[in-house]
Symmetry: C2
Subunit: 263 residues, 2 copies
DNA sequence: CGGAATCTTGAAAATGGTCAAGATCAGTGG
DNA sequence: CCACTGATCTTGACCATTTTCAAGATTCCG
């Protein structure tokens, strides 16, 4: 419970200092896991040409929606998003959860129209990179073009891992893999790997994992009975990571991480 | 039965005329659905710089394997491939089937190492585009760079559709959607939409669809009982497309098509 | 022609979904 | 600060779907 507060406090301190301003990639604390990762100092300077703008998204607000014209790539600076697709017959499924350092907006570059929707699950900030500027900067910033391909390729690999999870794993494995993946991603951002607050409902987890919310809830109870975790609604504490990893069948490939630019 | 022969004959005529030669994109009959689609005549000429080479792959042979270093993109000219990933704990799942006009090799551009394996299910020919040449050609061929991003973005959309299928559809829907998708793709290539030979086993279909081979087999029998198709092992005849589409719940989005460059 | 691979089908078992009821939590307005 | 309302979560009982196991038929390929 204490650590729950500290986590919130930490988020709180980062919530300040926002505006619709142009940002400098050279001074961003997330640059190592964002689009400009791996660029030289000179190249970082040239990123001014690409001039990412900042945008704040309220909880529940859409960053973009399926059908919107597609003219930007977004880098999450702060907050938490879900992305989802809706089929013709009205079914929908969550395709990913994105947090600081993750890249959004890669879908629909071919049709010029987004194929998925992205909604903030809490107040969030993103950097906006216009496709047009990215393309004209190509000549000077070969490395940047290359990086964009890398993010996309990484996203493809992540989705392959997701397809395996959906195609072959049972409920227990899916939920275990999901919790471990979230945990690792929080860890990479400097938060606690061992305890964290879920930003999504059981239903949203289920939608992502191809399960009903009741099944997700049962798995949480099951893991608690086994002494693998404690869970009080959204607050999760991982007690036995190795056993959880064994349950996940090592589905917790690096690939399953969200699209990200790091190295 | 007759049409089965004609289909083979058709394939037969295309099997001639192969070599390790450099090819001209400007004269390729597949250019409208390949990497250079949408390029001007001038730009098509410049494709000589990129100098795709041709490679023949025997039935059962790997085009590349997970772990191989990643230095080329491949365009299928002729034949049929399966791509699959293998998890750490040894499970594997097919991630796609590729035929003429489809693009391969997009995985692993970030790590420099392929994350999936690709194997030919029949004698196949591919064009090989070296990444290095594609990158240096960037300056002159902006449009080509853009096209590469389009293929990747299209692949991401396809995988989203696949995730929905795996996450929410029942066996009947999955198999129906699969048959319709194959049918449409054959149709686009000028083959019959109504009857065709499957290139893969029941088990391979199952692996792709997250089902066991027995379930796939049962669905085939089921569809025959309903008068939707006739199936004699690999040979399939679609009798009632509308009803099949209704079963598929219109999961047969354009997205579910394989990665492809057309328009 | 013969052996291996592939496919079909049945019956039993396991897994997850559906439906329903009640508990808990978060946010609102008094 | 508290009660209230709607959203979210838990749990149980039952049901539908898919898997598993097994046996036999068919096809492919050398």
């Amino acid at each position: 419970m204490l650590s729950r507060k500290t986590e919130f406090a930490r988020l709180g301190t980062k919530l300040r200092d926002v505006g619709g301003l142009t940002l400098s990639c050279a001074h961003c604390h997330l640059r190592s896991r964002c689009l400009p990762s791996g660029l030289s100092l000179d190249e970082l300077g040239e990123m001014r040409e690409v001039a990412p703008r900042q945008r704040r998204v309220a909880r529940g607000e859409a960053l973009y929606q399926a059908g919107d014209s597609c003219h930007s790539i977004y880098a999450v600076r702060l907050g938490f998003f879900k992305s989802y697709v809706v089929t013709q017959d009205g079914r929908s499924q969550i395709t990913g959860f994105q947090m600081a350092g993750d890249i959004l907006g890669l879908d629909g570059a071919d049709t010029g129209t987004h194929t998925q929707s992205v909604v903030a699950l809490e107040v969030s900030d993103v950097c906006v990179f216009s496709y047009a500027k990215l393309e004209t900067a190509a000549g000077n910033l070969q490395a940047l073009q290359h990086k964009v391909r890398c993010v996309m390729s990484r996203e493809i690999a992540r989705e392959h891992a997701m397809m395996v999870l959906l195609g072959t794993a049972r409920a227990e494995e899916r939920v275990a893999a999901f919790l471990l993946n979230l945990s690792e991603r929080y860890g990479e951002l400097g938060y606690s790997e061992g305890e964290f607050n879920l930003r999504m409902t059981r239903e949203e987890m289920g939608s992502y994992l191809g399960l009903k919310l009741e099944t997700v809830s049962r798995m949480f109870s099951h893991f608690q009975e086994c002494g693998l975790i404690t869970a009080q609604h959204r607050y999760v504490h991982i007690l036995d990571r190795p056993k959880l990893a064994r349950l996940a069948g090592r589905n917790v490939l690096p690939d399953i991480h969200e699209t990200r630019m790091s190295q």
